[in-house]
Subunit: 375 residues, 2 copies
Amino acid sequence: MFMPVGTLASVKGVSQDVLDELGVEILLANTYHLFLRPGVETVRQIGGLHRFMSWDRAILTDSGGFQVFSLNDLRKVSEEGVAFRSHLDGSSHFLSPEKATEVQIGLGADIIMAFDECTEYPADCARVRASMELTARWAERCKSYFEAYKYEVSWTSTAAELRSAGRPRAAVPTRSGASPRLDGAEPRPHTEITQALFGIVQGGMDTELRRESAARTIDVGFAGYAIGGLSVGEPRELTRDIVLSTLEHLPSDQPRYLMGVGTPEEIAQYAQSGVDMMDCVLPTRAARHGLLFTSEGKVSIKQARYAQDDRALDPACVCRVCQRYSRAYLRHLYAANELLAQVLNTVHNLHFYLTTMRTVRAWIRAGDATGAGAR
Amino acid sequence: MFMPVGTLASVKGVSQDVLDELGVEILLANTYHLFLRPGVETVRQIGGLHRFMSWDRAILTDSGGFQVFSLNDLRKVSEEGVAFRSHLDGSSHFLSPEKATEVQIGLGADIIMAFDECTEYPADCARVRASMELTARWAERCKSYFEAYKYEVSWTSTAAELRSAGRPRAAVPTRSGASPRLDGAEPRPHTEITQALFGIVQGGMDTELRRESAARTIDVGFAGYAIGGLSVGEPRELTRDIVLSTLEHLPSDQPRYLMGVGTPEEIAQYAQSGVDMMDCVLPTRAARHGLLFTSEGKVSIKQARYAQDDRALDPACVCRVCQRYSRAYLRHLYAANELLAQVLNTVHNLHFYLTTMRTVRAWIRAGDATGAGAR
């Protein structure tokens, strides 16, 4: 599956009913960003992210490790965790494996991620090993915290109370079963539904360290496994080598998630190689810059050549944008800096990605996956 | 009817299918802005605004008089027309009654407006009279040009050719009948459909000059009559006095259009007083600034008091925003500067305005119009 990125509990410019219609099955939101705005307490009070953003399909929250890593001069890493300053107002914060897990339990996504250190590229072998080992120790701490507090997920009495209060809004995402374990009692059978915690494999561009990281992460034991620390500036071929070699060390009967990748061609190739889940800002971010993916290749809609082009953006596409609007209109909206440009471009690009993934799934079901070395 | 503003052939942030769903019957677009971007030739080549923006309901284009008037230091008015510099790049342009009408015939809206001079406020009596008389002379020139060239409207063979070429897009706005009169032949009966040209009454805040302007505009003869030159800084009570006194001088069996007005209360009052058409940027512009109209009054969604407010924005509203999202989520989107804030806020405000107008229409049909002095 491909997960569109909704960093701040919104896929930029696209309303949830359009995401429904596009067939989005799972969204990615970001712990670091939501921790700063609107803050975990706001989301927890309302009953979790599903209810907050009115989205009853699945959500995954990244742990914030990658974003904190991106802060560069604003962060300081220690064994305990990461002290950092907000990119918004410079305020000081601290995320540790425990804190990141607590926040994600409060946000209440279906899948949450262990707090890891994303190793910079390039880095020498000693640095990569030390970083990988830190991530492995943090993985244990995330798992321990999660096991202790997983029943305090925000799909709770708050939401149930609001529902029973006869609130008139139509779409109330419901999560049956889960309730807080604040009373210390054993979880009752019907309240045992929890989030799924995934571990993250690091190890830089070293296949042996990747193997060791995979083994140590599997030893801790997670519901799924992610390959992190890629798309950090390395050549594409190296990304592919690391992904394929790491996949071999991850259990094929559990979800394998490749983080932050990639182009339509890459997601098709990785899916055929055994990757189950991917996310990437490319379709949404490129859309906002007028770069559109089509069956005939990439289109930069800002170009003057499209100014009087009355054809659909992608004649082979059945999305609501290609069904209704011309290249000339999309080019005009972009050139005139109209909000609708960003909206329509994003809808089309997401449709292209999701259609790509549906096609790959059909191939896999039909046994036609050609590059499926890991399956 | 209330006409949402789609200055550049787009209601900012709202796709045409949502406008359909909201029950928008007619949109307002702007000649000045479309003249600069994408330019009339682009729209004409594609077969007119309906086809360009894929909108098969009605469109009205304002003549550009008001926008040119707003340019202040960038314009120079003469008997012939207005020389001005583009607000985009400083390039020099000229609009005259003939040119503005030619451009509007090229854009191909259903209703087009005479090119007028919007008199500044305050202005002395001599200035208001001179300005009103200029507008009256320009009205004659617009009418003459329109009568000479009205069959050259852009709903033409271009669109028909594109349709017959079997283009796959679903939504091709069709305009039956109209064809260019370039051959000089008499219009055939089935090609006599043209645009409707409306005149504009000026006369500042002087009821006698307004009466005279109305009489002179009616003498020229138009398909409908607009009251222009209001909402230019005068007190609200004065606006109302001028509107009501001017309405009495306009034929009640033709459309009477009050330009650029107003709040929900104002549009309800004016509709009950006999105004048939209104447009205003308020619902869309206010939405982008987080100001929302509800059955309980105005809501500034940016306020911290809404941060954990799980209720619908307007519990009495059936729009797709109020049906799905909470104030807390809308507040978060606004505070985080998410694109979706502008999209959802605009949808709600338009729904509020259009529902207000539907309610007023029902009152009028039921004979309950209380302030209908002019009817």
